[in-house]
């Protein structure tokens, strides 16, 4: 009887031994070609928030050691053979992306304001009104918006890649992720602190370092023989 496997991420085949150094005994690597999948038996994985936090810790450890491409949470395979088949088909793409993110971490930046004029306000009332306010804010971002664009440009210049993200809260005026070489992390923090620190109406939060979640932009498809 086969056990369902939760696929957590991809690593370079040469780093497959590092899986044993992560303090999670059920973790194992499935090597195929120059890449490997990192998996756990689904039944042995904790449910809920504990499982998500453990997944993040595992990926962070693997990324610290070499580099990992996180797989979206909840991706389940019927067997190790299915994972090998997937890697065999996409080995070159996976390896290319792994080489790009190696030695780098993701940092998140969240800027918010108490100035209601600089945001589109809370998403209360009719949805149409909110969307109109949202469109207005996009069309005319004002001085805070212009500051965010300029800051994003400066941060992008010291990053390998960057991506603006959807804001999670109504008060948020800017949210983005940056893929940074590890040695650039302090420079990034200093730059943000210096630039945003002088803006009374703005607050900021730097999150991370994260595994490169926002920069693992591969879309793979299971083979026909892999369906359950």
């Amino acid at each position: 009887m086969s056990t369902e496997l939760l696929l957590l991420g991809f690593i370079r085949a040469t780093a497959s031994e590092l899986v044993k150094q992560v303090d999670v005994p059920v973790l194992f690597a499935i090597v195929c070609g120059s890449s490997a999948g990192v998996a756990v038996p689904a039944e042995a994985w904790p449910e809920g928030l504990a499982g998500l936090q453990l997944q993040n810790r595992v990926l962070l450890g693997l990324n610290e050691s070499d580099g990992v491409l996180p797989v979206r949470t909840g991706t389940v395979f019927g067997s190790a053979g299915e994972i090998q088949e997937l890697i065999a088909r996409y080995d070159s793409e996976i390896r290319r992306r792994l080489d790009l993110i190696a030695g780098k971490v993701e940092l998140g930046l969240d800027l918010w304001t108490t100035d209601s004029q600089a945001t589109c306000g809370p998403a209360d009332g009719p949805g149409r009104q909110y969307l109109r306010r949202l469109c207005g804010a996009v069309a005319d971002p004002g001085p805070v918006g212009a500051f965010c664009v300029a800051l994003h440009q400066r941060l992008t210049e010291i990053s390998a890649e960057s991506e603006r993200l959807a804001c999670l809260r109504p008060s948020t005026v800017f949210r983005a992720s940056y893929l940074l070489p590890k040695e650039k992390v302090e420079e990034f923090k200093s730059l943000v602190t210096g630039e945003v620190g002088g803006m009374n109406e703005l607050g900021f939060l730097i999150t991370g370092p994260w595994p490169p979640y926002s920069f693992s932009c591969l879309e793979l498809e299971k083979g026909e023989g892999s369906g359950r």
């Binding site: 997944q55 797989v71 909840g74 991706t75 008060s171």
Partner: protein
């Protein structure tokens, strides 16, 4: 300035957003279970059917 949410809550939101919305996407069966409840059980063909239906009836 007043913070709307404490930093640890924002960080948790950031973690959930990354884990659930980012990373390598593998098309096929996808099961997301949080607190023992399957929040999403998705097959690509079902998603396509839903979009097609949406396109037929804009209301």
């Amino acid at each position: 300035m007043n913070e709307v949410l404490a930093n640890e809550h924002v960080t948790l939101l950031e973690l959930l957003d990354r884990l659930l919305n980012k990373g390598v996407m593998i098309w096929g069966d996808l099961v997301i279970s949080v607190a023992g409840i399957d929040l999403v059980y998705l097959r690509l063909q079902l998603l396509l059917a839903a979009v097609e239906t949406l396109g037929r009836d804009p209301r």
